[in-house]
């Protein structure tokens, strides 16, 4: 549990933020220049705020009133910097080793081999950072921070320079860190897809101030918070667990049981019973009337229209699912008119399996 209260003035910019970050992953999301990096710098002990208090798991790290400022190297907070900051004089191996050097002996965490393997940097081990491409540098920086087995891992846009394939490879592993080792993370990203997969808590930052903070699903599904988000990023999060393997055979689909009904999803490996979260982008939800033709969309859930709000040039429809949970659908006003949608109306929500992967 991380508690942050900060007040800090910079020329031309004032940071005035407070939020709690419960165990799990807290993502900070906000425009360029909103103050995200400044916040995590304060948490890491690299910025001494004018006024502020930062407490991690009951340990006071910063308390300007009490004159407490634990130095960065005693905080055990791993930091993947936005600007890389690999040690130019050390090889990749040396950089990783540097991270491991001060890791407490007993602390849980992956070993070098695992990290190297995960990040696909085996071929780079003897190279120096000057010879790495942008993405390679980012991967090594992540590895280095992991090797220090931190109590809290700060990731400042760690994957901005990574291609989708590499991202897709690394994300599950960060998830594993979160779920299995319980390494709490403070995560900054511009990509809400990453945020949705990783975050348990979302902090929307605007111009140095927290606009909205809370559990991911709540914040994401809050049409009011949506102004802080890209229209394509708004959506809902459904929680469920992997159901028994589908009798329909091994076609690579996984059945996820949610309170609202089962969903078929592509490519989520895992043992039955494992908890999963599905982000359903408002943009991927189709609202259909009662009688449906046969389509390739396998997932159809009954739903009730809860609210219709404008989100120009579209509208956002909030759908209550009978078993609990909500979905958002981003559709045109014209469709609303066509279908005669209004709160209370019974409809079906159609979601492609491919959109849930």
């Amino acid at each position: 549990m991380l508690q942050v209260t900060l007040h800090h003035k910079l020329p031309g910019f004032t940071l005035d933020a407070a939020f709690d970050s419960p165990p799990g992953v807290t993502s900070i999301f906000g425009h360029s220049g909103a103050g995200k990096t400044s916040i995590v710098n304060a948490v890491a002990g690299l910025l001494r705020p004018d006024v502020g208090r930062i407490v991690l798991d009951g340990t006071v790290l910063t308390d300007t009133k009490a004159g407490i400022m634990v130095p960065a190297h005693r905080r055990r907070i791993g930091y993947v910097f936005q600007d890389g900051r690999l040690f130019p004089h050390l090889t990749v191996r040396g950089n990783l080793g540097y991270g491991a050097r001060f890791a407490p002996r007993g602390a849980p965490g992956p070993d070098v081999a695992a990290v190297v393997d995960l990040l696909g940097i085996g071929a780079l081990l003897d190279r120096r950072p000057g010879l790495l491409s942008g993405g390679e540098r980012a991967r090594v920086a992540i590895g280095r921070a992991l090797m220090s087995r931190p109590r809290l891992l700060i990731l400042d846009e760690p994957m901005a320079a990574l291609d989708a394939a590499r991202r897709a490879e690394i994300l599950p592993w960060l998830e594993r860190l979160r779920d299995q080792l319980g390494v709490p993370m403070l995560h900054i990203s511009h990509d809400i897809a990453d945020v949705a997969r990783l975050a348990t808590t979302l902090v929307l930052l605007e111009n140095g101030r927290v606009r909205r903070a809370g559990p991911l699903a709540e914040v994401l599904a809050d049409a009011g918070a949506a102004t802080g988000l890209d229209p394509g990023d708004i959506g809902a999060v459904l929680s469920g667990h992997i159901a028994a393997p589908d009798s329909d055979g091994d076609d690579g689909l996984t059945r996820i049981a949610t309170p609202a009904g089962d969903l078929l999803v592509g490519g989520i490996p895992g043992p039955p019973g494992q908890a999963v979260r599905l982000r359903v982008r408002a943009q991927d939800v189709i609202i259909a009337e009662g009688s449906l033709g046969r389509t390739s969309a396998l997932n159809v859930l009954p739903a009730v229209v809860a609210a219709i709000e404008p989100a120009p040039p579209m509208v956002l429809v909030t759908l209550d699912l009978p078993g609990g949970g909500r979905l958002l659908a981003r559709i045109t006003q014209r469709s609303v008119d066509h279908l005669g949608l209004a709160p209370g109306r019974q409809v079906h929500a159609m979601i492609k399996s491919a959109a849930l992967g």
Partner: protein, 232 residues
């Protein structure tokens, strides 16, 4: 070859090499500490330290030599103490010549190191701190390797200066053959005799050759280091 230079000149060369090497090596750690303190420190007396370090550069060498004589001579407070407690005699010994050379080269060494330290990106040091490294460790494993070219540059400047230092040395430890008559002192001595131009030129040439060799080697080294870091 031995005929080309008189034997005492070879003795003086050997002594100069020893004196310069010892002076350079022994002053490295202290110079590094001073450079770090001056580049990164925020303490009272920083200005005073800065001034003190520069003194040997500013003062005419004979004055520096005279001050050394007063402080480190047998009768000098520090000299007497060193001799009684540690058994180290500096006065009129080659060790004293090394001290003089070290002091004369000190400002050069510190400056070079300090410039290098100031060019190190403090964000890298911050990164090391987040990995759990305490400040001294960060210095040793991040700052130090990054300033290696600066350390080399400082060392070679000091070495070159030591090879040429004369005024402070002769004033402090005299010009005793085999003990404190370094190559520059030998050159000075030869200069006292008219018609010794050839001998002077030869000795100067040897001195220059040695120092240039050191310069060349250190340059190559520091380039190699820099190239490895830059990665091309």
């Amino acid at each position: 070859m031995t005929g080309w230079l008189p034997p005492e000149a070879w003795t003086a060369l050997a002594l100069s090499l020893r004196v310069s090497t010892v002076a350079t090596v022994m002053s490295l750690p202290l110079a590094l500490a001073c450079a770090l303190a001056l580049a990164r420190g925020r303490f009272i007396g920083r200005g005073a330290l800065d001034g003190l370090v520069h003194l040997p550069l500013i003062l005419p060498p004979v004055v520096t030599g005279y001050l050394l004589l007063l402080a480190f001579g047998r009768r000098g407070p520090i000299g007497a103490w060193l001799e009684q407690t540690l058994g180290i005699t500096l006065a009129f010994r080659w060790t004293g010549a090394a001290l003089a050379a070290a002091i004369m080269g000190f400002p050069l060494m510190v400056r070079a190191m300090r410039l290098a330290i100031e060019a190190v990106d403090p964000r890298l040091e911050a990164a090391a701190a987040t990995l759990g490294a305490p400040r001294p460790w960060v210095l040793a494993t991040v700052t130090l390797p990054l300033i290696l070219p600066g350390i080399l540059a400082g060392a070679v400047l000091a070495f070159a200066k030591a090879m040429g230092e004369f005024g402070a040395t002769i004033t402090f430890v005299s010009n005793i053959p085999g003990e404190t008559r370094t190559l520059p002192s030998a050159i000075y001595t030869a200069l006292q005799i008219p018609g010794q131009e050839v001998a002077v030129a030869r000795m100067a040439l040897v001195s220059v050759a040695v120092a240039l060799l050191a310069v060349a080697v250190s340059d190559r080294l520091s380039r190699a280091v820099a190239r490895r870091i830059a990665g091309n």
